[in-house]
Subunit: 253 residues, 2 copies
DNA sequence: TAGTGGTCTAGACCACAAG
DNA sequence: TTGTGGTCTAGACCACTAC
């Protein structure tokens, strides 16, 4: 397994903007990532060392380190003390981000659509109260939606939100993703905890998803928190397993 | 939703070892994380600001920042410029780490066991060759194992490894996890890319897992890379969905 | 011995939010 | 205006790897 010798990325760092609002480490990280994804930096090749790269670009070592570390965290690079930095082999999938299914689909070139099946206000039962850190019996907005991609049913989404969202525009929810609607109201998701599993579809789900009765579904349960750390969404979703799956990248730090 | 006022963590930073091999940022991060998990820092409370904390501990600001950022990346803290750092609400699950199912089980207090169902060397077909970045037809070690927890079947694990692992001790594989065996041979996993989905169990799987015929299974497909970025393991696994699920924490950076 | 990444310091200036 | 986190610099010393 002869590793490629040291490969110097050519001057594709020409267009770095030192004055603009985009952080320098981000600009560098983006260019490294692009070089890997485009094959300019082939799998197994070694990246130029930190100090040299910093001098070449006129940037300090911490800035370069931050840039490289960001790419490492995406699973594209591996670093070893005393050795250097190398490009990880294998095809690269874009990492799951903190967005909704709606945006994921739109970004990958599909035509997402949503049917609002149910919108009601209910009192929180013990489970919901626990997940949303609210007292039992608090009013919650309960949404049930059917998400389709290019007119094929893909997922049944069940969401619960605290009472200050009970006035959400139902028309907006058929047009945009839930997270987009919340963001336009000033609520931004910052942290989400998910549990991914599988089970047998209910009769209603198999009908909605157009799959065999008692067929398997992929499930995802999620609690999302806004930028103040408050729980603002709890969801129980199920997906057609032949059309959807979750991608995760794990990196040892 | 009155947020708690600024909460000063008491002197639980007393036992910081400046001379030892453990990084200072790691010691600080660990103590913050423990304070959150133990409830000393309650949900919603504000953390002391960076500079003050640094002065109090006699550490520089970058060191403190690194410590706090590590806790943020675990989904336990949320930061806002101009505001401060707050503890995220909700119960905290330990993050999935880059270890094998065997170690996950052992760490959570269960008694894992493994039955080696098959161990053979086969030529790589197109799919395996692609995932492992090897030429088609290369010899691969193929393992099929049944993983149980407390004598209950939990998962059927199907693994493929490059030819330099064909001499793996089969007896060790029934005693330890695959990753432990590899580590003892000097191979450490650094990056893994996983795809999680669901499907119907095959007849063999439903028998092995002791579930209903044609019942649902949770599936995970994974390629793992060592510290030089080389692909060293490809696996296709299926889990009993009533006994196992995956937890993921997403953080906006 | 030379080269690499890992850690740590002591400052500086800025953007953003609150009063 | 004040306080917060976000970015950036220019050094330093160390641990590990290869030769």
């Amino acid at each position: 397994m002869g590793n490629s010798e040291q490969t110097l990325p050519p001057e594709l760092f020409m267009d770095i903007d030192r004055a603009g609002p985009i952080p320098l480490y981000y600009q560098v990280a983006t260019r490294i990532e692009d070089a890997i994804r485009s094959g300019v930096l082939p799998a197994g090749s070694r990246l130029e060392n930190e100090v040299a790269l910093g001098e070449r670009l006129g940037l300090s070592r911490p800035t370069i380190r931050r840039a490289i570390q960001d790419v490492v965290d995406k699973g594209l690079l591996v670093r070893r003390r005393g050795i250097g930095t190398q490009v990880v082999h294998g095809e690269v999938a874009r990492q799951v981000e903190l967005t909704s299914l709606h945006e994921d689909l739109a970004r990958s070139g599909h035509q997402p659509s949503t049917t609002l099946l149910l919108s009601e206000v209910i009192p929180a039962d013990e489970t919901m109260a626990e997940h949303l850190s609210l007292p039992e019996g608090s009013p919650l907005l309960h949404l049930r939606r059917l998400r389709s991609s290019d007119d094929t049913p893909l997922a049944v989404l069940e969401n619960y939100l605290p009472s200050d969202f009970t006035d959400l525009s139902t028309s907006a929810l058929t047009e945009y993703g839930l997270y987009q609607v919340l963001r336009s109201r000033g609520t931004t998701m910052r942290v989400a905890r998910e549990r991914i599993g599988a089970r047998t579809a209910t009769d209603e789900e198999s009908t909605l998803l157009d799959i065999a009765a008692a067929g398997p579904v992929l499930t995802m349960e999620r609690t999302a928190y806004d930028n103040s750390g408050r729980a603002v969404e709890y969801g129980q979703h199920c997906y057609r397993p032949d059309l959807y799956s979750f991608e995760v990248t794990l990196v040892d730090r």
